[in-house]
């Protein structure tokens, strides 16, 4: 709970009137922006490619990481348990592989800088070269 509060505070102090989560891709990706529904489709395993038909690999944080719960709640309105249950239907039906999971945002960002097909979510922050923002997602509590 304390971690969650910290995240919220960090988000609120991030210089924007609305707290936001950044959805990022590799700068080599020709996509410049993505709509809310397109992000939902990618992170909920409904599609496996970007709108430009290039293969997409959504990256995730490990279960229980506070930002993960905030991200999925803001994106889909679902709790983390609902998202895990939903993904279980895809994974164990053999329809999709589970997204690769990382223990922190630094590792996520590093992976995105290296992988042109990656897409990930991070808190608002200054980002290194090699990644770009395709959507700013307002936080829904």
């Amino acid at each position: 709970m304390r971690k969650l509060l910290l995240i919220f505070t960090a988000l609120l102090l991030s210089g924007s009137l609305r707290a936001e989560i950044l959805v990022i891709v590799n700068t080599g990706n020709s996509i410049t922006t993505l709509e809310h529904k397109q992000i939902v489709d990618l992170f909920m395993g409904r599609v496996s490619a970007f709108p430009n038909r290039q293969p997409a690999r959504p990256l995730d944080l490990k279960a229980g990481t506070p930002l993960r719960a905030v991200f999925y709640k803001s994106l889909t309105g679902k709790s983390e348990a609902q998202v895990d249950a939903y993904w279980a239907t895809l994974i164990f039906a053999g329809r999709m592989s589970p997204p690769e999971q990382f223990s922190n945002e630094t590792a996520l960002i590093e992976k995105v800088t290296k992988d042109p097909s990656a897409i990930a979510y991070v808190t608002r922050q200054s980002l290194p070269n090699g990644v770009k923002i395709v959507m700013e997602l307002p936080v829904r509590e």
Binding site: K37, R46, V47, S48, A49, R53, P55, A63, G64, T76, G77, K78, S79, E80, A81, Q82, D84, A85, Y86, A88, T89, I91, F92, A93, G94, R95, S97, P98, S117
Partner: protein, 420 residues
């Protein structure tokens, strides 16, 4: 085709994987799993509860059972390009016939040349009902187990063959159309805690369409099953030999034939989930030319509400046979020893054909508590009303005694579901 694919899913995967020397170098592995630890309690002293017709054991009065729902599943997925992927899923549980071969739930290669179009080859889930592809993953569903009046008949877990799935985007909605074809088999226990079973081998052909739109999901499936095995031969031979003294016996013979006979499922399902309230219902009409597979209608509906990490739900359903009971009358005035023999054969035929009937309804309540990440605890209370002429989803504790009265059963289930 089905003959070639039959029973060789792992071999198929090995051949494909070792066919390219680069495969292992580029392969990304994912391991995941699921488990359920469940206890079922049932207050009926005559009928043992079972999750579905493939089980030969279960809970009855004063005998709780962990065997109905407990299982562990392990899955490996290998991914070596956006186009190629393979998966193997093993499930350990109390099976009627427990072999490694039977424990392989999935073992397939998937080819996805473009996003939205998949072809799979190997052993995979028979996608006939809404929960078919994840019916053993307790965490993925709100209930302790798939609703009994409906999923109790669903014995088709997997098949060896091919399926193709194409996605169409229709505005905000997404339509998936899947066609599947293959071969499957199952051995059904003939009674409570028995080792004796009836083996069925069948070919499966089907088409599934599902539409996802906002909070709604609609689904329709048609699946046809052709039986390859020859069951009921002994009774047919016995009846055939008696046609000169009992001409009407010949009428029962076609009902006891199975080879090349068909049955089919027409299924509709819907789900609504706005993240607070949810509603799910399915209906299936099973039409059967096979006397040993009962014609019937099966239905359930369930509604629930989520409050924080708690979920509350109600559920209800029914199973109703759609064919008449078989009644064979033995001719009068025959010498006593012959009449006794005829009566025995008539009774055995009636038992075979009427014993597969399912007539029951149920209602219940339950709760789910997501108490930790990827862990859920469930409690479910159900009341079953089982007609004396349709007890086949249950097992008679005493095989020698007929059920002469309609039965009631209160079933309490406690399950712990985990993902890992």
């Amino acid at each position: 085709m089905s003959f070639i694919l039959r029973r060789y899913p792992t071999l198929l995967i090995c051949i494909l994987m070792f066919s390219s020397p680069h495969v292992w170098a580029e392969l990304e592995h994912r391991f995941s799993g699921f488990a359920t630890f469940g206890l079922a309690f049932n207050d009926n002293p005559l009928l043992a509860f079972r999750r579905d017709v493939t089980q030969n054991d279960g809970a009855y009065k004063d005998n709780a059972s962990w065997k109905n729902d407990s299982l562990v599943g392990l899955q490996w997925q290998g991914h070596w390009s956006p186009e190629w992927e393979a998966a193997v899923q093993l499930v350990a549980k109390d099976r009627f016939k427990n072999t490694l071969e039977n424990s392989i739930e999935w073992a397939f290669i998937r080819y996805r040349p473009v996003d939205g179009f998949d072809v799979r080859l190997g052993r995979m889930g028979a996608d006939v009902f809404m929960l078919s592809e994840y019916r053993q993953v307790g965490y993925a569903m709100p209930w302790a187990r798939p609703p009994h009046d409906y999923y109790g008949i669903a014995s088709l877990y997997n098949f060896d063959g091919i399926d193709m799935n194409k996605r169409f985007v229709l505005g905000d909605a997404m339509l998936n159309v899947k066609a599947f074809f293959g071969n499957s088999g199952e051995e059904y226990p003939v009674g409570f805690q028995t080792e004796l079973g009836t083996k069925f081998d069948f070919d499966l052909l089907g088409l599934t369409t599902s539409l996802d739109w906002n909070y709604w999901k609609l689904r329709y499936t048609y699946a046809q099953v052709t039986v390859n095995s020859d069951q009921g031969r002994e009774l047919r031979t016995a009846l055939q030999q008696l046609t000169n003294v009992w001409p009407a016996a010949v009428e029962a013979i076609p009902d006891l034939q199975t080879r090349n006979k068909k049955f089919d499922y027409s299924q509709v399902g819907f789900n609504y989930d706005n993240n607070t309230w949810w509603l799910q219902s399915e209906f299936v009409r099973l039409r059967s030319d096979v006397g040993l597979v009962s014609d019937g209608e099966h239905f359930y509906a369930s509604a629930g509400r989520r409050v924080g990490n708690l979920g509350f739900y109600v559920l209800g359903g029914y199973a109703e046979p759609q064919s008449e009971m078989v009644n064979l009358s033995v001719p009068m005035g025959l010498p006593a020893p012959l009449a006794a023999q005829l009566n025995l054969i008539a009774a055995a035929t009636e038992r075979s054909l009427n014993g597969v009937r399912i007539k029951q309804h149920s209602y219940g309540v339950g709760t789910r508590w997501d108490f930790a990440s990827k862990m859920a605890l469930k409690f479910q209370l159900e009341q079953f009303e089982i007609d004396k002429t349709g007890t086949n989803l249950w097992l008679r504790i005493d095989n020698t005694t007929e059920i002469t009265e309609n039965q009631q059963a209160t079933v309490v289930s406690v399950t712990l579901d985990v993902l890992f």
